[in-house]
């Protein structure tokens, strides 16, 4: 497969048509942090080498249990630092918020529950919805980069929204995972920098 992709253009074009679609994940676009915003304002300078290099760090974070566990390949979230299938097999449901008596927020409270092995918390705890599962588990760097940059697969996010997503409340929750859980492999600031660089440099995907 030739490595000639113009993701940025694709994002911009398709964003026009898809932006209006509101996925539940978009509702989370309310937090603001200066790092990403100032990065968003900076001029775009496309550079595939810089972009791909930055994505290596993005990938490390996204494939860490704190991110991947809620982006599973199946309909059951993963759990723990070993990313085993979530005990009691809660299912995604159409909106990603669980099903019946097993909705995420039945156990996952607005904030972390104190103690080891207790449910971590966030007001908006959920998986991606069934219509767009945004799977991380099992994705190669190439696949994941392509998927992230594709509004048809990334929750309908245009570049700007994608940049902002680094500061989404639920993404930030990965760095406040509750007692006994390892943090993603770098700080949030480092991640935000890598994320921004990857996107602004062209959101190139590494070679397959």
């Amino acid at each position: 497969m030739p490595f000639k992709t113009i993701y940025l253009l694709a994002i911009l074009l398709s964003a026009m048509g898809i932006l209006a679609t509101t996925f539940t994940t978009n509702a989370t676009l309310r937090s603001t942090t200066s790092a990403a915003e100032s990065a968003t304002d900076a001029p775009v300078k496309k550079d595939s080498a810089t972009s791909v290099k930055a994505f290596a760090n993005v990938y490390k974070v996204l494939m860490s249990p704190r991110c991947m566990n809620c982006h599973p390949a199946g309909d059951v979230p993963l759990q723990g630092d070993d990313s085993h299938l979530h005990t009691m097999a809660p299912r995604r449901g159409t909106d990603g918020k669980g099903l019946y008596a097993m909705k995420c927020s039945n156990c996952h409270q607005p904030t972390n529950t104190p103690g080891l092995h207790t449910p971590p918390g966030n007001p908006n705890w959920h998986l991606p919805p069934a219509a767009m599962k945004m799977v991380f588990e099992g994705r190669t760097p190439h696949q994941l980069a392509k998927q992230l940059a594709d509004p048809k697969q990334n929750g309908g996010k245009n570049m700007e929204q994608l940049l902002e997503h680094a500061n989404d409340e639920l993404v930030l929750a990965g760095w406040n995972p509750g007692e006994g859980r390892t943090l993603p492999p770098m700080s949030h600031a480092e991640f935000a920098k890598a994320w921004t660089t990857w996107i602004k440099a062209g959101a190139y995907a590494p070679k397959p």
Partner: protein, 715 residues
Amino acid sequence: MTVSRRNFLKISGMAGAVFSLGFYVPKHGEGAKIVKAAEAENFGVEMNAWIHIDTSGKVTIFSHRAEMGQGVYQAIPQMVAEELEVNLDEVNIVFAKGDQKKYGNQITGGSSTVRGSYKNLLNLSATAREMLIQAAAANWNVAKADCYAEAGHVIHKPSGKKANYGELVVDASKLETPKNVVLKKRSEYKLIGKPMLRQDTKLKTNGTATFGLDKQIPGMLYAAVERNPRLRGKVKSFDDSAARKIPGVKYVVKTRMGVFNTYREGVAVVADSTWAALQGKKALKVVWDDSGFEHLSTDEIYKRQREALQTQEGLSFKKQGDPAAIIAQAPKKLDVMYETPYQYHSCMEPLNCVAHYQPDKLEIWGPIQAPDWVQDYISKEMNIPREKVIVNMTFLGGGFGRKAFMDYPHEASVISKEVGAPIQVIWTREDDATQGPYRPGITYRCEGVVDNGEISAFKVKLAGQNVSHWQGGKKDAPNRSASEGFLKPYFDTIKNLSIQDVPFETPIPTMWWRSVYASTNGFAYESFLDELAVEAGKDPLTFRREHLKEERLNKLIDKMEDVSGWKNRKAKEGYGTAITECFASTVGQVVKVSRTADGKLKIDHVWAVMDCGWYVNPDTIKAQIEGSIVMALGAATHHQVTFKDGIPVDKNFYSYQLPRITDIPPIDIYIMENDADAGGVGEPGLPAFAPALTNAIFDLTGKRIRKLPFDMATV
């Protein structure tokens, strides 16, 4: 003779009871004697107060056993109502208070509630009925033979005259108790043997059943206790400054409880809410003294067991012929080890107990399997006269052996005395999971020889803790449960057989767990029989049948073959079987496994056939076997207690994972019909499951699983 009203009420335990009939067993091994309450004092004994009928005809039965899910709440009234001829819904059941003198052994254990008392109960109920009939016949001046009892009334057949039991109780109570009352035939039963709904279910669907944790008495405070994580030892020092600052915390006191022949200390935080007590407990800093107790880890325990089995012959439990000689000379022999884990009871209701110590008495309420033991033990430990220790049983949120133990009521009593207030001790799930006592983990070495399709030598050695040692059992005697679970008729056909107990001790407190040694023995013995059958080139059920020359067992095997489609199965299709016996009942199981499209092992079906002889309620039996199989499934494939540096590792359900609804295969249960003496029901369904499952896995995959638990996903 006359009995004062005061005495009478004291004996009967309730006001307004006029006709009160009970039985007592004069001496161990002697037949029960039925007496009227009023006569009991003349015998110099307190009778086992069982049945009371008042002048309104209301029937009350005192149950001396605990209800922990096994159905006694329903089984005892069902038996009494049958012979007494009253409607089941007109019978009230009351849990009697703990009193060994009055009720005899009250331990709810050994699957003994029905089998231990049913003959006496039936006889007692029929005697009461006959006395009521006799009273009516005398009143009406008619022949007793022309009268019969039905639905709480005596009826004179020729005239149709009818009297409510309530009208007859005064006269009946004056009659001599008749001897040799004729009991109903099985074919005449209206209630016994029928699937009856349980009387306690409605209390359990709207939250009104009072479990131990739900008990509340005026002025009660809540206590949470920090105990030594290493299962033994003392408090060296503690810092309660942070705990005392938590709003609601009233007292912090050192406490202790008896664990068999040792004591364990702890620090109790007593507060005005459970939450405050739990927070206070977390804020404690305790320094422990556990010197003298070895800090063992699981790997070390099993390494020592294996070494002991390789190097020691141990104590002889049974020996016939000379298996060792045959094994030594045989050109081909099997010599394998089976390993079973320590297990935790994991009742859904964690341990708890309410105690109110007062200057003149100590009253206890809790989920208690053995109220008489609690009464006896605490009376001695705290130096309170036995009759001043009042033990009340609540519903039990599970028991499985753990709640037949005196540590938690003892601890509650010590704390109540210490703080001078009624308190409820609550054990957190973490306390419950990490404090023991546990089912002992055992390793088995099995050696055997097959000759001409038959077992010519059979030698089993086991190394594991003997639970009786914690209760003063002799250490130079073999474990008397060394073959529990194994069918005794095998001893008739296997001429060269030995079973030896290789002594093995650790500081880990151990005790009974549902089906006790059968739960581990069953896996070893029945897996080994399967291996011998394979060695003999025989069908596993045929092989067992050929070694079991007993008609009742052969009928059980017929039934197993019939219901599971055993004879029509294809080679290596994934069928396995096991048959075990404990508490006087035999259960045979057939398990069918397969591989799913993604290569994972799946249990397709379980068939269980129970032979428990005479029985009361088939629906209760089925429920107990379903539950036993689920519990066995968990112990075989989900969870185990492991130790690291003397501390139990798994603290809650996130790692000690119990089976969930998603894990449960279809289970079909069949009950053999015969008139043999009643056997136990609550436990015998458990031991056969694990070996039937692993034998099925061998059939499908050729892989022999000799260590529990194992992970179905990785076989």
